[in-house]
C-alpha cells in the first residue's frame, strides 16, 4: 500500500477543518480508493461548491474546480461532457447538495451522467454557524432551532434513487474501510453514483446537542442494530437511549445499483 499523503498538496496542509471533524477521514478514504484503482491523478477531476466539505478539494493534487454554491453537479456535468475521459468526482455537503443545489443534483442523477457525488452529511450548516439543514434530524438543536428542530429531515438516498441515480450508497465516516471499498465501486460504476457519507460536526452539532467532540460523535455513530444507525442517520434525534433500542434509522451499504444508458450529450449516442 502506498502512502496516500502523496496525493495531497502538502504545502496547503494542515487543512482548515475543525479538530474532530470527520471530513478528513472521508478524504483519506477517497484517496485510498483512488490509490486502489491506480487512477492517473491528471485524469481525476474533483468539483466542489461551497461549504466545509467543499474545502477538501483544496488539499488534493488532482484537477480541481471550485464552483458556486450548490452548482457543483452543474459544473461537473459540463466538465464531463467536454472532457469525457476524466473521472469526475463531486464533493458536496448536505446543505450544498440538498437545499441550495437540490435541483442540480436531481437533474444530474436523472440524466445519469457518469460522475460520482460524495455528499458529506454532518446534519447541520457548519461553515456559517450551525443553522438547521434539510438533513437535521427531528428534535436536534441548531442555532436556528434552539428548542429542537420540528421539521422532518431528508432521506437523501431515497431522493436520489427516485431521481434516477444508478448507484446509491450510504456509509459511516467511522467505517473507513467500507467507505474506501464503496467509493472504488462507485467510481468504476458507469453512470451517476451517489454516496451519502454520515460525517460529524463536533463544533456545532456536537456542542449544541451536548454530544461531545469528534471521538464521542464517531463512537456514537456506531451501528446499533442490523442496518439501523444512530443518530445522525436517523429520522429522529434522541441523544441517550438504552442499548438495543431500535431507532427509525436509515440503512447503510449499497442501496441501489442498476445499469442504464449514460448521458453523453450526443443524440443517439451511447
Amino acid at each position: 500500500m502506498s502512502d496516500v499523503k502523496t496525493y495531497l498538496r502538502e504545502w496547503a496542509m494542515p487543512h482548515v477543518l475543525c479538530p474532530g471533524c470527520a471530513h478528513g477521514i472521508v478524504l483519506r478514504s477517497f484517496l485510498e480508493s483512488v490509490d486502489q484503482l491506480q487512477l492517473d491523478r491528471d485524469k481525476v477531476a474533483m468539483v466542489a461548491g461551497i461549504g466545509c466539505s467543499s474545502r477538501l478539494i483544496g488539499y488534493v493534487d488532482f484537477c480541481t474546480l471550485h464552483g458556486t454554491h450548490g452548482r457543483a453537479p452543474a459544473f461537473a456535468t459540463g466538465l464531463k461532457l467536454a472532457r469525457p475521459e476524466l473521472n469526475v468526482v463531486v464533493v458536496t455537503g448536505d446543505g450544498d447538495a440538498l437545499a441550495i443545489g437540490g435541483n442540480h443534483l436531481i437533474h444530474a442523477a436523472r440524466r445519469n451522467i457518469d460522475m460520482t457525488v460524495l455528499m458529506l452529511n454532518n446534519a447541520i450548516y457548519g461553515m456559517t454557524g450551525g443553522q438547521a439543514a434539510p438533513t437535521t434530524p427531528e428534535g436536534a438543536v441548531a442555532s436556528t432551532t434552539p428548542r429542537g428542530n420540528t421539521e422532518p429531515n431528508f432521506d437523501a438516498c431515497k431522493l436520489l434513487i427516485g431521481a434516477g441515480a444508478s448507484h446509491v450508497a450510504r456509509v459511516l465516516a467511522v467505517n473507513p474501510l467500507e467507505m474506501t471499498k464503496i467509493m472504488a465501486d462507485a467510481m468504476t460504476h458507469p453512470g451517476f453514483s451517489f454516496i451519502e457519507v454520515i460525517s460529524d460536526c463536533p463544533e456545532y452539532f456536537g456542542r449544541y446537542n451536548k454530544v461531545g467532540g469528534g471521538a464521542e460523535m464517531l463512537s456514537w455513530m456506531a451501528v446499533r442494530d442490523e442496518g439501523i444507525t444512530i443518530p445522525l442517520a436517523s429520522k429522529k434525534f434522541v441523544k441517550t437511549l438504552p442499548p438495543s433500542t431500535p431507532l427509525p434509522g436509515m440503512q447503510t451499504g449499497v442501496l441501489h445499483r442498476e445499469i442504464r444508458p449514460v448521458y453523453s450529450g450526443v443524440r443517439g449516442g451511447q
Binding site: 494542515p14 477543518l17 479538530p19 477521514i25 478524504l27 483519506r28 469528534g214 471521538a215 463512537s219
Partner: protein, 292 residues
C-alpha cells in the same frame, strides 16, 4: 457369530458438508443391504468449529460409535482434523485427507506477525501406522468441475475407492440427497474423486512475512489538532493527548500495527511503519510462548 461391524469416520470444519457426506455414506450403505448406525457432533459448526460423524455398518450394529483404533477409513475434510482423528484408524486402514488448511484464530501465538501453531502438512505422521494415505486437494478438483462446494463429493469418491460398495448405491444416494440442481456436478465430483491423484503437498509453511516487534508510530505534530480520535479508538491504548492538547505515544511496545489510528486520523497526522526487527519464524513460536 456374526461378522464384526466396521467403522468409518468423517471429520471436518463447520460448513464443509461433513453432515451431508455422512448422510450419503449411510444411505449408500443402507442401499447396499447393511444395518447402519450413524452419530454426529456438530458443535460450533457455524463458527468454524470441529464437525465429525461416526458411521458403523455390518449385519447387526449395536452402537453408532467407532472405537479408537478400529475405523477402516478416516475421511478428513481439513488437515488438522486428519491429525486429530487419525488415532481412530486401525493399523492398515485408510486416511483420505484434504490438504486444505483452515487455521483457527486461537492458534495464533503472536498478534504482530500472525505466527500460528497450525501443524505443517507432513505425511511422515502416518508412515509408522502402515496406513494407506491419500492426500487430495478436493476443493481444487471440485472447482475445476464448476462448483467448489462439491468438494465433499470428491472426498466421498476417494473414500469409495477403499470400500466394497457398488457404485450404483453411491450414485443413487448422492442423487437423492444433494440439493436440487447440483446432482450432475456432485456425481461428476464423486467420479473424479475415485480417480483423483495425490495432491502436490505444499512446502512447509514459509517464514511469516513482514516484521515482528513494535511498529513505528510517526506523528506530524504540525498537522495534528489534538482531536483525540486516535487515542480513543486505539485498542491497545498506545496513544494519549496530554494536557496541552498534544498527541503523545505512551505505550509504543503494545502497538500491533492495526493502523486504526492512521485511517481514522482526519488530519493525516499519523503514519504507522512496519517494525525494524524481522518476524519470528514459525518454529520459534513455541519458544516465544514459553518465554512469556
Amino acid at each position: 457369530m456374526p461378522e464384526p461391524s466396521r467403522g468409518l469416520l468423517l471429520a471436518g470444519v463447520g460448513g464443509q458438508g461433513v453432515i451431508l457426506a455422512s448422510m450419503i455414506v449411510a444411505d449408500a450403505l443402507v442401499r447396499a443391504g447393511y444395518d447402519v448406525k450413524q452419530s454426529e457432533v456438530h458443535g460450533m459448526a457455524q463458527r468454524g468449529g470441529s464437525v465429525f460423524s461416526h458411521i458403523r455398518w455390518g449385519s447387526n450394529v449395536d452402537s453408532p460409535l467407532v472405537p479408537t483404533g478400529s475405523a477402516e477409513v478416516l475421511a478428513a475434510f481439513e488437515w488438522a482434523e486428519a491429525i486429530r482423528w487419525v488415532e481412530y484408524v486401525r493399523d492398515g486402514g485408510a486416511v483420505v485427507a484434504d490438504i486444505r488448511t483452515i487455521v483457527p484464530p486461537g492458534s495464533c501465538t503472536d498478534t504482530r506477525s500472525w505466527v500460528t501453531r497450525y501443524p505443517t502438512i507432513d505425511t511422515g505422521l502416518f508412515t509408522g501406522r502402515h496406513l494407506k494415505t491419500r492426500l487430495i486437494d478436493a476443493s481444487a478438483t471440485a472447482a475445476d468441475l464448476g462448483n467448489a462446494r462439491a468438494a465433499n463429493s470428491v472426498i466421498l469418491g476417494s473414500v469409495a475407492a477403499f470400500l466394497d460398495i457398488d457404485d450404483v448405491h453411491w450414485e443413487a444416494a448422492i442423487a437423492s440427497l444433494v440439493p436440487q440442481g447440483t446432482v450432475e456436478v456432485n456425481l461428476a465430483a464423486f467420479r473424479a474423486g475415485r480417480t483423483v491423484s495425490d495432491a502436490a503437498i505444499p512446502q512447509a509453511v514459509p517464514d511469516p512475512e513482514g516484521f515482528s516487534g513494535p511498529h513505528q508510530i510517526e506523528i506530524r505534530h504540525d498537522w495534528c489538532k489534538g482531536c483525540d480520535i486516535c487515542s480513543r479508538f486505539c485498542p491497545e491504548f498506545c496513544l494519549d493527548v496530554d494536557i496541552d492538547g498534544k498527541l503523545v505515544v505512551v505505550n509504543s511496545d503494545a502497538c500491533t500495527g492495526c493502523r486504526l489510528c492512521e485511517i481514522l486520523c482526519p488530519d493525516f497526522a499519523i503514519t504507522i511503519r512496519p517494525p525494524l526487527e524481522p518476524a519470528v519464524a514459525a518454529g520459534s513460536a513455541e519458544a516465544l510462548r514459553s518465554d512469556t
